[in-house]
């Protein structure tokens, strides 16, 4: 690793101020960023560690009944404490491995927007709101392609707010070497319709499968998906699976998710 300074702010205000330094980079749990730095794929001058910002940690229920998760909350904490949203807690409980879950954070995962990460599917599938130090961003506006988000330079995810669906499930087909999703599908059924978010598959990162959403909104059963398929064009193709294979897996995982809760 190239060397860098580390700032360890205790408040959001101090973190935002530190992010104003030249070539500053926010550090969540570091489970992606530190390996990236070791490979010298990034060379920030300053890392602003968010793990000591107490006001960005924890899980609670908002006045409107939404689940609120602080941006610096670890996957392990979400898995343990997000009991009002069991599908999300279950998803968090299968990210990486136990030691990774004790460090990795929801804000870090969302800011990175890895095309195979789990949280983007959970957030987009839930229609959650990404709250930053300056604004609130709807999930539909937040994800802007592989490793790309709506975040501005220096902007910090302070909280994520999830509406609680009537039913939800996440199905992950694990790529066994990396433990990331080869394909992951998050299905959430709300009173006004069903959302289906897919991670691991598209070259554009997480996306909503609108045809499946329409079919499931009128008939929430795995059978409603019969005949629906996605094209392999634009899907990630690598040594772990072709685009066509991933496209097929999306339909299989969506059916499994619906079967799990329908």
């Amino acid at each position: 690793m190239y060397n860098f300074d580390v700032e360890t702010p205790g408040t959001v205000a101090d973190a935002v101020a530190a992010m104003g330094r030249d070539e500053a980079q926010a550090l969540g749990g570091g489970q992606t960023l530190i390996p990236t730095l070791k490979q010298r794929l990034a060379s920030p001058s300053v890392l602003v560690s968010l793990s000591g910002v107490a006001e960005m940690k924890g899980v609670c229920t908002g006045d409107d009944g939404q689940l609120c998760i602080g941006g610096a909350t670890t996957h392990a904490t979400v898995a343990r404490e997000a009991t009002q949203y069991p599908a999300l807690a279950a998803m968090a409980s299968h990210i990486g491995d136990p030691a990774v879950r004790n460090r990795g954070t929801i804000g870090g995962s969302l800011a990175n927007n890895d095309p195979s990460a789990c949280y983007p599917a959970g957030v987009l599938g839930s229609g959650a709101t990404v709250v930053t130090n300056t604004r609130e961003i709807a999930a539909d506006d937040y994800f802007q392609g592989m490793f790309d988000t709506a975040l501005d330079e220096g902007e910090i995810i302070t909280e994520v707010r999830f509406p609680i669906p009537e039913a939800a499930n996440y199905q992950k087909f694990v790529q066994p070497a990396s433990r990331f999703a080869l394909v992951g599908v998050f299905v959430a059924k709300f009173a006004d319709g069903v959302r289906v978010a897919v991670t691991g598959a598209s070259e554009d990162g997480v996306f909503r499968w609108s045809e499946a959403e329409a079919a499931l909104s009128s008939d929430f059963s795995a059978g409603a998906l019969d005949g629906l398929s996605l094209s392999g064009d634009g899907m990630i193709s690598d040594l772990h699976g072709t685009g066509a294979y991933r496209a097929h897996l999306v339909a299989v995982m969506t059916k499994r998710a619906v079967d799990a809760v329908a």
Binding site: G30, Q31, I34, P98, A99, N102, R179
Partner: protein, 161 residues
């Protein structure tokens, strides 16, 4: 350089570190606690697992400055006060839970973290918890046996003899 202080295995420890100094480097190079092994250095293998404020973390994927003020436990802190092996360590010896021993510190630390949150895990839960600990010698079966034994459970039913 930044001066950091933490408690390691119950004793005060301090040192001057760079921003990029990993917790694993601080423990091994500064404090000379070489029981914490660095296998892959890419947060895959788990040989470097230590406890920070009671939680298992990969010491190769945490900055030393982030552990400032914390209570850190390494494999050197696992033995009983009289120097005898802890229940988990003894179980690894009794059940041949190691061959070359390189992954063992991380295995022991992960096992301790598991048994703290789940004192009587099933075999499947043990295997699931060890997802981030890689061993290239044992095929895991004897490690699983050792952890089942350390939890006070019968090891006879453990699969794949």
């Amino acid at each position: 350089m930044t001066k950091i202080e933490m408690t390691v295995n119950g004793r005060a420890a301090s040192g001057d570190v760079e921003g990029r100094t990993l917790l694993s480097s601080f423990l091994r190079d500064e404090l000379k606690l070489t029981g914490t092994h660095v296998g892959c250095d890419t947060s895959q293998c788990g040989a470097c697992v230590v406890h920070v404020d009671g939680e298992a973390v990969k010491a190769c994927t945490m900055l030393a400055v982030e552990a400032a003020g914390s209570e850190v436990t390494t494999v050197e802190g696992m033995a009983n006060a009289d120097g005898s092996l802890s229940v988990i360590q003894q179980a690894f010896q009794d059940h041949h839970g190691l061959q070359c021993g390189f992954c063992t510190p991380g295995m022991v630390m992960s096992a301790a973290a598991l048994l703290k949150e789940n004192p009587k895990p099933s075999e499947a839960e043990v295997r699931d918890y060890l997802e981030g600990n890689i061993c290239r010698c044992t095929g895991y079966h004897n490690i699983v046996k050792a952890i089942m034994a350390a939890s006070g459970q019968d090891v006879a039913p453990v699969a794949a003899e």
